[in-house]
């Protein structure tokens, strides 16, 4: 049955070997008062072909990105995945292994994660990185925990240019743990320096800024950083959910961030309706003992040949050793996605990353210019942007979306959902996966609405 190899006859023999008569005897430790004396109310078992048919019909009820042209970003980005990535990532020795507790037979995963940690350092310019976190939002929370230290108390200042979902998650954790979050306004699509100056003081533990921010705008991080670091103990956290930007924009190290977090799912992993995702966290060396989650380190064999090898290390920070005093509760993370991102980054390479970013930048700007030329459509901000931009619409975003769907186009994100002042504004994203023809098709469809 299913994936249980032993037949009922074999199982009966095993039971008798144990001196038991039946499966019922085996369940004796579970008191009768809590036994479920009826079958679970679930649909009946399906054979493989039946299950396939069922699930393919469910999948067919969705319009996948293969069937439409999408201009959605808003935290989740469409970047082409070279075939080499899934072919290697899905090798079953990676897929079916657990967290590498026995390093001698887990060198493959450990080395791949060491390479991942290195590449995250290369992207961010920072000193150290961990083996992954659940997603960008929880990575931001973990960075805040690092800044707050063991007590978990204090005030953090975050820009409203940070993804509203990330801020909602941070707020949820803040309420439970008992730290304060102060949000500061944006102006012309970027964090208001005046609001930042007014909000921070000696008691500010950390300041978090997203680069590029949720509106796609490029923050003047070089102007922000000295304000944040006016109080020497304030930790500057940068958030990046569109990693292609690392190919062109100043790295977190170059603008003096202390901790960099964000989302790397779009590098080599399917979007999969938003999860599993791939949170990353990189930091300056001095945060080493405060790092959350798994860390892989390089070492050598104990004796003999002294070959190079890799192990999980600095585990005294972690829940299985430190328990209630651990730096984080994370145990299972997102390793397989980290492997995907590592292979993707190797395939892209040094030049490729820069090319990717350049393509995204120019295509988005082309689209923004074309859309802005349409009557009734206007850019909301004049700040520089990367591959997303905000447009004021002549109609409601939901009506516009309905219209676009007739052409198999998925438009941008309705910003009014999170920013009441941006009702009837849409956030469009254009990555390297959109061709000029795709963009022109969008513009033509928008034109009909304008008319």
């Amino acid at each position: 049955m299913g994936y249980i190899p032993n037949t009922p006859q074999e199982q009966q023999a095993m039971l008798e070997h144990l001196g038991l008569r039946s499966m019922e005897d085996l369940l004796e430790p579970v008191p009768e008062e809590v036994r479920l004396r009826r079958p679970l109310n679930l649909p009946p078992a399906l054979a493989e072909p039946e299950l396939k048919r069922l699930m393919m019909s469910m999948a067919a009820k969705n319009r996948s990105l293969d069937q439409v042209i999408s201009f959605l970003g808003a935290g989740t980005y469409e970047h082409a995945i070279p075939s080499v990535v899934p072919h290697l990532q899905r090798r079953s020795e990676f897929v079916t292994s657990y967290t590498p507790y026995q390093p001698e037979v887990s060198q493959g995963m450990l080395q791949a994660i060491y390479e991942f940690q290195t590449m995250v350092c290369q992207l961010t310019g920072l000193d150290i990185a961990n083996a992954s976190l659940y997603d960008g939002a929880t990575a931001l929370v973990e960075a805040v925990f690092m800044a707050l230290g063991p007590g978990g108390q204090g005030e953090v200042v975050v820009s409203t240019g940070i993804d509203p979902q990330y801020r909602r998650v941070l707020g949820t954790y803040a309420h439970a743990r008992g730290f304060r979050v102060r949000e500061i306004a944006t102006e012309n699509g970027v964090t208001s320096l005046a609001a930042l100056e007014a909000a921070i003081g000696p008691e500010t533990v950390a300041v978090a800024i997203q680069q590029p921010n949720f509106f796609g705008c490029i923050e003047d991080v070089k102007a922000i950083e000295p304000v944040v670091h006016r109080h020497s103990r304030t930790v500057f956290i940068s958030v990046t959910s569109e990693p292609a930007s690392f190919g062109l924009l100043a790295s977190p190290a170059e603008y003096n961030a202390d901790i960099a977090v964000g989302e790397l799912m779009s590098f080599g992993n399917p979007m999969s309706f938003g999860g599993p995702a791939l949170g990353f966290l990189a930091a300056r060396e001095r945060f080493l003992r405060l790092m959350p989650g798994r860390l892989v380190g390089q070492t050598v064999e104990e004796g003999g040949a002294k070959q190079t090898g890799y192990v999980l290390t600095l585990q005294a920070r972690e829940q299985h050793i430190r328990r209630e005093r651990a730096t984080s509760n994370i145990c299972t993370n997102q390793s397989l996605l980290a492997v995907g991102a590592t292979i993707y980054m190797a395939a892209l390479g040094k030049e490729g990353l820069r090319e990717l970013a350049t393509l995204c930048l120019h295509k988005a700007h082309y689209a923004q210019r074309q859309i802005s030329n349409l009557p009734g459509f206007a850019p909301a901000f004049s700040s520089p942007f990367f591959d997303e931009f905000v447009i004021r619409l002549p109609v409601s975003p939901s009506r516009l979306q309905e219209h676009l769907l007739q052409y198999d186009i998925i438009g941008g994100y309705d910003l009014g959902r999170d920013y009441p002042e941006l009702a009837n504004h849409m956030l469009f994203c254009v990555t390297e996966t959109r061709t000029r023809a795709d963009i022109d098709r969008l513009v033509a469809a928008l034109k009909e609405v304008a008319a």
Binding site: S97, A112, G349
Partner: protein, 502 residues
């Protein structure tokens, strides 16, 4: 034995693999688009390698990794059962894998439907009113559950409750989650007679500090593989004191269709779908840690929640004003949920019961067979559940062979090791969980090898103490790794030691 150099030690300047399309739109000069001071000065020094180098490198790495597909993986508490290939194919269907989380609801009806139905299946399995699929792993579910409990107490004007009771055999994530939820963890000892919770200690704690108790977190069967027969009584006592009951569902493989946390009196339960529902663990993740709650906690669930209207259309419903908020971006580890859905539909109600029974049978079979050569923790408990704890205490005493040595020696025989030194309350613990997907022959082979190792420990302990002997690397210097942390490659770093292919 050979090493595999790092990807950074391969390639040559100018080499590359992935190709990108040429720019097909008119471009403005870069400096018109991005202020120069915000441009990157130093390019990220990613590797410069060709596709063939990448393929060989990561193929070699995969060959240096052991998974369930390689061999027996009796890692206790981790439920390393077979991961069906069919479920991998289903999750990779473009209709599931190529969906943006913010697509209009009309374009993702199948995806919301799948989550709507999965929520109901999990609620039925757990005996709970509703489930949120949002948490990304077990520990995330724990934290979310404690946040719900906190919101519930606060709503009732009992926000002063600040203690979470946790047995000493609990997983480390339990106390760590309690801290992150703003609680103080209080440890309760295990009753040496039963292997269950020390009831006297619980009673006295509730008597003296009951008004401070927010919750108790229990794993049942616990990490000793023992079913705590006092579960209902514990629930009664804790509820009487005004506390809530959290069920760590990491061991749910033992209870499918046999009993339900909800029926035992628990208020919140998390699932580890990457254990119980066979979604692959991916070398450390991803997982999914949905939590189920009783009716009184439903208003506090994070949102959004999948819903269905009268016309049969699926949509995301906002959770209401009492919701704790959100514990991650988007709605959950959907790709994992697709696999779990396929798993539950494959087995159906009778099949899931059979899963649990078979897992328990395999564990008891191993426990019985190993008892002659190894001490078993809590031998007075006649039957274990889906796992049990053996120990290397006898071997340690007789010849200095430790649980770690035995774990390493197992690797030489093409098997993974049990979980060792956990639970913390058993010295030299070897926590063994065979799962239901192993044949009797595999179990017999494991027994044979374990007996041989016991024999070696008596006659030739050195071979055990210096194991493994056949793996790509020998024992690694953990102390050095921690003393001089090297967490990333840097240019100019000493090259990988050993003989390795280019």
């Amino acid at each position: 034995m050979s090493v595999e150099p790092l990807i950074f030690e391969k390639g040559a300047p100018g080499r590359r693999a992935a190709t990108l399309p040429a720019l097909d739109v008119p471009a403005e000069p870069l400096e018109n688009l991005v202020p120069p001071h915000l441009l990157r000065q130093e390019p990220a020094p990613l590797p410069e390698v060709s596709e063939i180098e990448i393929v060989r490198h990561y193929t070699h790495l995969s060959q240096r990794n052991f998974g369930v597909d390689t061999g027996f993986y009796p890692l206790g508490s981790c439920t390393m059962k077979y991961n069906p290939k069919l479920n991998e194919d289903m999750a990779a269907l473009p209709g599931f894998a190529a969906l943006h989380p913010l697509q209009p609801e009309s374009t993702v009806q199948g995806a919301i439907q799948l989550q709507y139905e999965l929520e109901q299946y999990l609620a039925e399995i757990a005996g709970m009113a509703r489930v949120t699929l949002q948490p990304s792993a077990g520990a995330h579910g724990e934290l979310t559950g404690l946040m719900l409990i906190k919101a519930y107490h606060e709503h009732r004007g009992e926000g002063h409750r600040n203690l979470v009771l946790i047995p000493d055999n609990a997983h480390g994530t339990n106390p760590a989650s309690a801290t992150l939820a703003g609680y103080r963890a209080v440890e309760i000892k295990t009753d040496p007679a039963t292997g269950g919770l020390d009831m006297d200690r619980l009673r006295s704690l509730l008597e003296s500090q009951g008004k401070q108790v927010a919750a108790i977190m229990l794993t049942n069967p616990n990490t000793l593989g023992i079913f705590d027969r006092n579960a209902v009584e514990i629930a009664r006592l804790v509820h009487e004191a005004g506390g809530q009951l959290y069920y760590d569902g990491a061991n749910a493989n033992a209870v499918l269709g046999i009993t339900r946390p909800g029926d035992m009196g628990f208020d919140v339960v998390h699932f580890n779908l990457h254990k119980t529902c066979s979604t692959p663990h991916g070398g450390g993740g991803p997982g999914a840690g949905p939590i189920g709650v009783k009716e009184h906690l439903v208003p506090f669930l994070p949102g959004p929640l999948p819903a269905k209207d009268e016309q049969g259309n699926y949509y995301w419903a906002d959770p209401g004003p009492l919701s704790i908020g959100k514990v991650r971006a988007n709605t959950g580890n959907f790709g994992v949920l697709v696999r779990a859905y396929a798993y539950i539909r494959t087995y159906g109600p009778d099949g899931l019961l059979r899963v649990a029974q078979s897992a328990i049978l395999n564990a008891n079979y191993l426990r019985h067979e190993l008892a002659s050569d190894y001490e078993i923790a809590f031998p007075q408990v006649r039957l274990c559940q889906h796992e049990f704890v053996a120990t290397a205490q006898r071997q340690k005493q007789e010849s200095g062979v430790t649980a770690n040595d035995i774990a390493k020696r197992l690797l030489d025989f093409g098997m993974y090791a049990p979980t060792i030194y956990f639970p913390l309350i058993v010295h030299e613990a070897l926590m063994i969980e065979p799962t239901e997907t192993e044949t009797r022959e595999t179990l017999d082979y494991f027994v044979k090898v374990m007996r041989q190792i016991a024999h070696e420990a008596r006659t030739n302990p050195e071979i055990v103490k210096t194991a493994p002997h056949t793996t790509p690397v020998g024992r690694l210097d953990q102390a050095l790794a921690a003393r001089r942390p090297n967490l990333r490659w840097r240019p100019g770093q000493e090259r990988t030691h050993g003989l390795g292919q280019p």
